[in-house]
Amino acid sequence: MDKKINIRSIDWEKIQTEKFIRTKRLRNIFTITAYIILTTWAIVSLLPMYWMFVCSFKHIGVSFSIEDIEFYPSNPTNENYINFLQLDAPPWISKRPVGRWFLNSLLIALLPTISNLIFDSMAGYALAKMRFPMKQAIFWAIVMTMMIPEIVILIPLYRMMFDFKWYNTYWALLFPGFAGVGGIFLFKQSIESLPTSIIEAARVDAASEPKIFFKIVLPLSKPILSVMGVFGFIGGWNSYFWPYLVTESNKLYTIQVGLTSLMGAGGGAGVTGTLTFGIDEYGQMLAGASMAAIPVIIIFFLLQKYIIQGITIGALKG
C-alpha cells in the first residue's frame, strides 16, 4: 500500500494550464451571454425607431394597423414629408408653422441648458470649495428639493405662470428651466474632486475669484460640463408636458407639442384594433417624428463619449 504521492510526479504546469483554460472558458461564456442579452435589448429598443423611419416613407392613410409595419417600405414615397411640411399646399391656406416648432424646440433645448450650466457650475463651485456660513444647511436644502418629484410642483408652477401673466409666452416656456438643483449637486461632486491647492495656487497667483472660476475651475470641469450639456439638450428637445401645458397658440409649440396637435380631436384606439387619427394622416406624424429625432441622433453620435460618462456619473451618485 503505497499511498504516498510523489510531489514531483504531479504535473503542475498541466494543472495550471487546465485551470487557465477553465477560467478562460468561463469568461467566454459570460461574454457571450452578455452579448446576447445586450444585442436583444438593442434590437428591441431600436425596432420602433426603425419602423418609424420605414413607415414615414409609406402611404398609410388615416388608420394604422399591424399590417402596416414592414421591414422595408414596399412602395417608398416622400408624400408624408411633403404633406407634413405642407410643401404643396395652396398659398391661400394658413400653414402650420413647422419651422417655428423646430426653432422653439431648439430654444427650449439650448437656453435653459446654457443657463443651467452657468448657474449650476457656479453654485456647485461655491458649495464645493468656498467657505461661507450655513453652507451645509444650504447644501441639504438643495438635496432635499431634489427629492420632490417634478409632478408635485407642476400645478403650482402652472398657476404661477398665470399669476405672472406668462401663460402662453416664451417666458413660461423657457424660464422655469433656467436653474436646476440636480445639476448643482453633480457639479459640486465633480468640483470637489479638484485639488484645493490648485485653486489656492491661483489665488496666490493674483487671480481674482471670477478669474479662478473661469480660468481654472471651468476648464477643469469640461467632462461634467459636456455631460450636463448633452443631457440638458436632449432633455429639453424631448420635453413635452410642460410646453404642452403652458402654450396655446401654435406659434409657441415645440415640435413635440406640434406633432401631437396633429392627432386632432378624434385620436384614440378604434374598435377594430386599428389606430385612427381624426383629421390628419398617421404617415405625416411619423415623418415629423423622424425629423424631430434626427438632432438627438446626431448629438448622440457626436457626443457618445460624454453620454456614457454621464451614465457612469449617474450610476456613481445613485
Binding site: P195, E200, A201, V204, D205, A206, S208, L220
Partner: protein, 368 residues
C-alpha cells in the same frame, strides 16, 4: 522685499466631523527678517502649514495681526499681498502647459505680453526647463514638476516666497540636489523666504534662521548651531539632531563646588553653569548630552567614567553608534571607531562635561 511680522496671532479651526476646536497657531509673535531664509520646523500637526497659509492669506486669523513690510495684511486677499507660494503637491494647473503655468500670475497682474515672455524665458533658463515649456504637467517627471512650481513662484518677483515642504515628494537623492540649488537660488535672488519642513536636516542645511514649533507655539528661534548647541527646552533638544540628544536623570549635589550625580558617579560641572544650578542643589535635573560628546574612557585614557551596560552596537561605516543604558535611561554614543566590549557587556563611558546641558524636569526648560 520685505520682512514679515506676526503680532499675537491665533488661528483656531473648528473641525466639522469631531466638533472639536483645534488651536493651530497659538498667540504667535514672530519676526521674519527681510531677505533671509527662514525655516519653520516642527512635528506633524504643529501648525507650520497654518502659519504659512496665514502669511499667504489663505487663512484669516481669529486674533492678532500680520504685517508684510509695513503693510498690515491680516485680512487682505492673497492677490494683494505680493507673495508667491510653492505647494507640497506643486499644484500646477493641469490644463495649461508649462509656459502658461508660469505666465498665469503675470497675466493676472496685467504685465505686458513682451515682459511676460521675457520673464518666463529667463526663469525657464535659470531652472533649465526651457525644453519643457510646451508640455503639460502630466508629461513631466516629479523633479521637473517641482522646478516648474518653483519657476512659477520666481517669475513673479514677489516680496516673499512661501514654500510648504516643496521637496517632500522627491526621492532622497534628488532632494539633496534640489536642496543645494534652492539655497543657491535664494542667495542669488535675496528674497525673503519662509520654508516649512518637518525634516530637521533640511531645516539645518537651508535655514539662516530656524523657528521650531510645537502645538502651535514657538519653542525656539535661532541659527542651526544655536538650536543644536543650546536647545531652549527638552522638546528642541529631542527634535534637533539625529540621533537626538540623550536625556538622563541626574541630581545636583554640593561637594567641592557643584557636581552632578548620575547613578553613583559624580561629574564636574563647568564653572559658568554652576551659578544657575545653585537653586537645584539636592534636586533632580535632566542632564542632556549629544551622542558625539560621549566617548570611550579607555581609548581616551580618562579615569572618570560611568560604567554602563551595552545593548546594541550599530556599525554605520564612518561612525559607530553604541546603545547602552544607565538605570532606565537609554543612551546613544556616537564614536568614530570600533569599541571593545567585554563578555559582561560593560562599557566605560566618558562624558565630555564641557558640553553637558541641564533642564528642569518639570518645566522642561533649559536651566544651564
Amino acid at each position: 522685499m520685505a520682512g514679515i511680522r506676526f503680532e499675537n496671532v491665533t488661528k483656531i479651526f473648528h473641525q466639522e466631523e469631531t466638533r472639536k476646536s483645534v488651536v493651530a497657531v497659538n498667540n504667535l509673535n514672530l519676526e521674519i527678517p527681510d531677505g533671509r531664509f527662514t525655516v519653520l520646523l516642527g512635528p506633524s500637526g504643529c501648525g507650520k502649514t497654518t502659519t504659512l497659509r496665514l502669511i499667504a492669506g489663505l487663512e484669516i486669523p481669529e486674533r492678532g495681526d500680520i504685517y508684510i513690510g509695513d503693510r498690515r495684511v491680516t485680512r487682505t486677499h492673497p492677490k494683494e499681498r505680493n507673495i508667491a507660494m510653492v505647494f507640497q503637491d506643486y499644484a500646477l494647473y493641469p490644463h495649461m502647459n508649462v509656459y502658461n503655468n508660469l505666465a498665469f500670475g503675470l497675466r493676472n497682474l496685467r504685465f505686458p505680453k513682451r515682459e511676460i515672455e521675457e520673464r518666463v524665458r529667463e526663469v525657464a533658463k535659470m531652472l533649465q526647463i526651457e525644453e519643457l515649456l510646451e508640455r503639460t504637467p502630466r508629461e513631466l517627471s516629479g523633479g521637473q514638476r517641482q522646478r516648474v512650481a518653483l519657476g512659477r513662484a520666481i517669475v513673479r518677483h514677489p516680496e516673499v516666497y512661501l514654500m510648504d515642504e516643496p521637496l517632500s515628494n522627491l526621492d532622497a537623492k534628488l532632494r539633496a540636489e534640489v536642496r543645494i540649488e534652492l539655497l543657491e537660488l535664494q542667495r542669488k535672488l535675496g528674497t525673503t523666504t519662509v520654508y516649512v519642513t518637518h525634516d530637521q536636516v533640511e531645516a539645518m542645511t537651508l535655514g539662516d534662521i530656524i523657528v521650531v514649533m510645537n502645538n502651535g507655539i514657538i519653542q525656539q528661534i535661532g541659527k542651526a548651531r544655536d538650536l543644536y548647541e543650546r536647545p531652549a527646552n527638552i522638546f528642541v533638544a529631542r527634535f534637533i539632531g539625529s540621533p537626538p540628544m540623550n536625556l538622563i536623570k541626574a541630581t545636583i549635589i554640593r561637594q567641592d563646588g557643584l557636581k552632578v550625580k548620575i547613578d553613583d558617579t559624580l561629574l564636574d560641572i563647568p564653572k559658568e553653569k554652576c551659578e544657575n544650578l545653585e537653586s537645584y542643589i539636592d534636586k533632580e535635573v535632566i542632564l542632556g548630552i549629544r551622542p558625539e560628546d560621549i566617548k570611550d574612557a579607555i581609548i581616551l585614557g580618562k579615569d572618570k567614567y560611568i560604567i554602563s551596560t551595552v545593548d546594541v552596537i550599530e556599525y554605520l561605516g564612518a561612525e559607530v553608534l553604541v546603545h547602552f543604558h544607565i538605570n532606565s535611561d537609554k543612551i546613544v554614543a556616537r564614536l568614530d571607531s570600533e569599541v571593545e566590549i567585554g563578555k559582561d557587556r560593560k562599557w566605560r563611558a566618558y562624558f565630555d562635561t564641557k558640553k553637558i546641558q541641564f533642564f528642569d524636569p518639570i518645566t522642561e526648560n533649559s536651566i544651564a
